[in-house]
Point group: C2
Chain length 402, copies 2
């Protein structure tokens, strides 16, 4: 098959599946009565629980707006309407009370807080939703909401975490968990898009986030570790040895986009070799295929029960990372690995009948949970992957033609 | 095979394995430098993490004392010494600070608090350890510690939960989670053994706990549900439909012991039929054998990733429950089910080479995690099961001879 044919074939599969996936969420997810989205959806889209998880509410609003704003075939008023309804739900119910700084993790169908996490992530997805709503509708109040919450998050992370509610314990030294700088880098990219003022405001935070991500490259450049000490040293025990291949690969494409923007060729190299290829090679199951969820860098058995399960999102992150890396470097190894992940995903995760991917396979690649959405799986990783891959493949095809 | 032969064979296997299991913990678990126990132990007993989980510290102290006190071949000074060292570690480090009412969930090797849960369970296992230490050593300070902490727990559960640190949220109605009354019933049994004063003190709490457990029998007696409302009604959503067969069976033998003590034949019947046989029948995997970890009463797919994995402790609880039920009722169905679980356990969970059981099998019954101990698996469910089964089988054999 010619290179062009292969790219065209991939793009067609991505586009078709993006339509099918968005159809699934558009059809089953909106709560027409209370606003916001149901995300606990069965195999065929039936709602099996009506709790609303704030991470997923924010992500779905972001996804709808982003597609509406940037992909012509999704530029439909009904998609914007649903996004605005989701935004309204977030504004009314994300915070447990009017004077609360923090957002809830999960709320009842009608928006009463059930649980509040002592982390920053509900708030981060709130920011993503609000910023994208602003870009889509041009309504200033969304921009204001995003900015205020972003300031609050930065305060918690860099000035004083006490507002998060975690007790100060003598054995709990501050840890550099990779999720925090990744999330902040992601938010900075979101907020700075075509916005010089925000770009300047967040310039230092962006550098700080990249530096904190790079601290996770350990063992003389041989491994990405999920948790390191506050000054970038390896930690003892399971927590220090913990690896999450999908998360490292996601960090890889975050770094890659940042490096591309700044034409930083050294960082492009590090992102591809160390954050994408390295964890992929060690994290890919040689026996059954697919990416392990967790590993221990010294080969001990992880204590997480699902360590060997194959989850959807590490695979969607790998598709993005390999394609973006190939676009930037034209390294053929990246396209070979893309093909490998593509074949695994399109033979196991996709559901041509009902739409949206299965989320949870066992080690052998059999569906272990039939749910399409749940407390941690919503309208986000899959459509983001398909939309970004479609876009990158179009760019590659255009380059070939030019 | 004659009935007697079968009972003798089972007892021999239980005794041998109890020796092997205790040998494993005795050899690998004690921290000779800082006191307390390592519980993150690999396949062969090697320590892969030195964090100390307070649930498991308390349970191991309890187990060592109980065996020392009641089983002649474990009445050895070195076992008592290790238990006392564990007790000393708990007294010095279970509480994050001297004025703290709550216990930590996990501490560093040298005892500095890493995490505090907003529940009562660390404290409950602290009480079990202290009460059993008192019974074993006759030192009054242990009794005092157990009593004070028990008063505190009862205050949190029945008077005012605010000291646990959970925020008051508008969507989080109080729930009757079966773990709480089970734990309290278990503690009442522990504290009241041969102690008239404690028996009287806790009489009302015992009744309350039994009543709260019985509220989990729902759907016209057709299902045990893990969470019900504070007034004993079924809850909506996943949480309301959640089932944990191993936990229901454990509640079954707790109720059974209580009913036997009070010669309550109706409750004996309920415990056996509803809390032991019913969840066993629905929770046993007809395809691959073994008890599912979680189920949804309406047959939806659970959202817990490990729902179909086979964990060690539901199986050890089932062995106790069937044997105790048989001792009490002589119902042959119970012995048949005991045989079924026994065959599954002794062909899959036990490790004749290194000792102690594997903890985590995949749905098909293959070892998924090779660890013997971890954050939630210590020296408790396995030896408690083997010790109780040995004792019950001895009683049954004695009955046959008489």
């Amino acid at each position: 098959m010619s290179e062009t044919k292969r790219l065209e074939l991939w793009r067609a599969r991505m586009s078709e599946d993006l339509d099918r996936v968005m159809q699934f969420w558009r059809q089953h997810s909106l709560d027409k009565e209370y606003g916001g989205f149901f995300t606990c959806l069965s195999l065929d889209g039936a709602v099996y629980d009506d709790l609303k998880y704030i991470w997923l509410q924010g992500r779905q609003v972001w996804m709808y707006c982003r597609l509406y704003r940037t992909v012509p075939r999704f530029h439909k008023p009904e998609i914007l309407n649903d996004a605005v309804a989701g935004g309204k739900f977030l504004l009314a119910h994300a915070r447990p009370s009017a004077h609360s700084l923090k957002c809830a993790f999960v709320v009842t169908r009608d928006g009463r807080a059930v649980k509040v996490q002592r982390t920053i992530f509900s708030e981060c997805f709130f920011v993503m939703a609000m910023d994208e709503l602003w870009r889509t509708t041009q309504e200033e109040r969304y921009k204001k909401e995003a900015q205020n919450m972003m300031d609050q998050i930065v305060h918690w992370v860099r000035v004083d975490p006490s507002g998060l509610g975690r007790p100060d314990l003598p054995g709990a030294d501050p840890v550099n968990n990779m999720a925090t700088p990744m999330m902040l880098l992601n938010l900075v990219e979101q907020l700075s898009e075509d916005n010089k003022e925000a770009e300047q405001k967040y310039e230092e935070l962006e550098r700080w986030s990249v530096e904190r991500i790079l601290q996770h490259l350990q063992r003389d450049g041989k491994a990405i570790l999920e948790n390191v000490s506050d000054n970038g040293q390896e930690l003892p025990g399971c927590s220090g040895r913990h690896q999450n291949p999908g998360h490292a690969i996601e960090a890889g494409w975050f770094l890659l986009r940042h490096a591309m923007k700044h034409s930083d060729s050294e960082l492009i190299q590090t992102a591809v070799e160390k954050f994408i290829l390295l964890p992929f090679l060690s994290g890919w199951d040689q026996e059954y295929g697919g990416l392990f969820s967790f590993q221990d860098v010294d080969g001990h058995c992880p204590t997480q029960l699902e360590w060997s399960m194959k989850l959807w999102w590490p695979h969607s992150e790998a598709l993005i990372a390999f394609l973006l890396g190939y676009q930037e470097t034209k390294d053929p190894r990246l396209l070979e690995n893309f093909q490998k992940v593509f074949d695994y995903v399109f033979s196991r995760f996709t559901d041509l009948e009902h739409g949206e991917w299965f989320g949870y396979l066992n080690r052998e690649g059999k569906v272990a949970l039939t749910i399409k959405g749940g407390p941690f799986k919503g309208c986000f990783h899959v459509p983001r992957c398909l939309y970004m891959c479609e876009e990158i493949l179009s760019r590659l095809l255009k380059e070939e033609k030019d």
